[in-house]
């Protein structure tokens, strides 16, 4: 299991800046619950947070050995939400764990949920390795986050080139895209 790492992000500050615009923003986090992040976002934005933990669904599918039903599981989380009702989505590295078809379908659903001007943050691995851990991300400040790995049923990472990532989120435009030293591409999308 990799050690905890503190990373400087050039993209997250823009994500936070975009959320400062709407009053009482609605933020959806597709990662697991991280208590300090709830306090961080609450203090910062006086927001509504939707904690969905899609990684738990991915893990259930990985243990079952089949991605069948995974999209339906995502839909159960997303269906209650009205289109255009979300100001920001934190996807983290979720798409590394999804095959292209499911990733494409999920991206379309998330795009529909974003309001105009809303932002979506994702990170995309660039090396085709076996993934054996998920990552819990802790905000340390606007531009620094700490990553803490936790075990995953191993799956092969889905590697998407930049062009594929941009196509996947059709309807959103890339506001910022940075390749980190960890060979991970951080991308911020904005709905025009």
């Amino acid at each position: 299991m990799p050690a905890e790492v503190v990373t400087t992000s050039k993209v997250l500050p823009r994500f936070f800046a975009a959320l400062a615009q709407p009053s009482l923003p609605v933020i959806m986090d597709l990662g697991p619950i991280v208590g300090p992040n709830v306090a961080f976002l609450g203090e910062r934005f006086s927001c509504k947070l939707l904690i969905e933990d899609f990684f738990a669904e991915v893990e259930s599918a990985a243990r079952a050995g089949s991605a069948e039903g995974l999209l339906e599981a995502f839909d159960r989380h997303l269906e209650p939400l009205a289109p255009g009702s979300v100001d920001g989505v934190l996807c983290w590295d979720l798409f590394d764990f999804l095959d292209r078809g499911i990733g494409q379908a999920l991206a379309a659903r998330l795009t529909a949920l974003l309001r105009e001007g809303g932002v979506l943050y994702g990170s995309f691995g660039t090396t085709p390795v076996q993934l054996s851990h998920y990552t819990r991300v802790f905000f340390e400040s606007d531009d620094k986050f700490r990553t803490r790995p936790y075990p995953a049923t191993p799956v092969k990472r889905t590697v998407l080139v930049t062009r594929d990532i941009n196509r996947m989120f059709e309807g959103l435009r890339v506001a910022e895209s940075v390749l980190l030293k960890s060979s991970t591409r951080e991308t911020l999308f904005r709905k025009a």
Binding site: G42, C47, L49, L50, P80
Partner: protein, 173 residues
């Protein structure tokens, strides 16, 4: 009831010299502590309540409650053995046990290590410990404008709310 008699005893002067050892004097501070102890109520492990629970005292629940809990001016603590299936409204809510249902607090919600909540939280401050389980939405929109928040859910989601029978009363088994 012995506690009640003890609590109304006139406080003795603290610095009265005495040749013989006396029991611990009842200081004003001790009285305050006793008063606050009397204002806290515990619902024990073996107690099951179905219906509506409301009051004006701090409450600790170690048993089971199904229905609705309202302590608008007080602190509700769900103890490690507490199992709640209810809509909860209180000044502050501390969760060490399990809650299935929405929690609304005017001050804060605190989900401690090993605490578990499946439902939506609405409070200006929310603290969730590292080992806690939570699934749902967290509304930290301050300023008492809950009714003014932008709609997030489509109307069909309203069926998710657990109906509570009108006029339900608490029954202790």
């Amino acid at each position: 009831m012995w506690k009640r008699d003890e609590a109304v005893r006139t406080p003795q002067p603290v610095n009265v010299p005495s040749a013989t050892p006396t029991p611990e004097p009842s200081t004003p501070r001790a009285d305050v502590v006793r008063q606050s102890e009397r204002d806290m109520v515990n619902i024990g492990k073996s107690v099951i309540i179905k219906g509506e629970l409301s009051g004006s005292e701090d409450l600790t629940i170690e048993g089971q409650v199904d229905g609705k809990i309202e302590l608008r001016q007080n602190i509700l603590t769900i103890g490690p053995n507490g199992k709640i299936k209810a809509q909860v409204a209180a000044k502050a809510v501390v969760v060490l046990g399990e809650v299935h249902g929405n929690i609304t607090a005017s001050e804060r919600v605190d989900i401690r290590d090993n605490g578990s909540v499946e439902g939506d939280l609405s409070a200006p401050r929310v603290a969730i410990a590292d080992g806690a389980h939570f699934r749902g939405a967290i509304d930290m929109q301050r300023g008492g404008k809950a009714g003014e928040t932008r709609p997030t859910e489509v109307k069909s989601a309203e069926v998710k709310q657990m109906p509570v029978a009108a006029g339900a009363t608490a029954a202790v088994r």
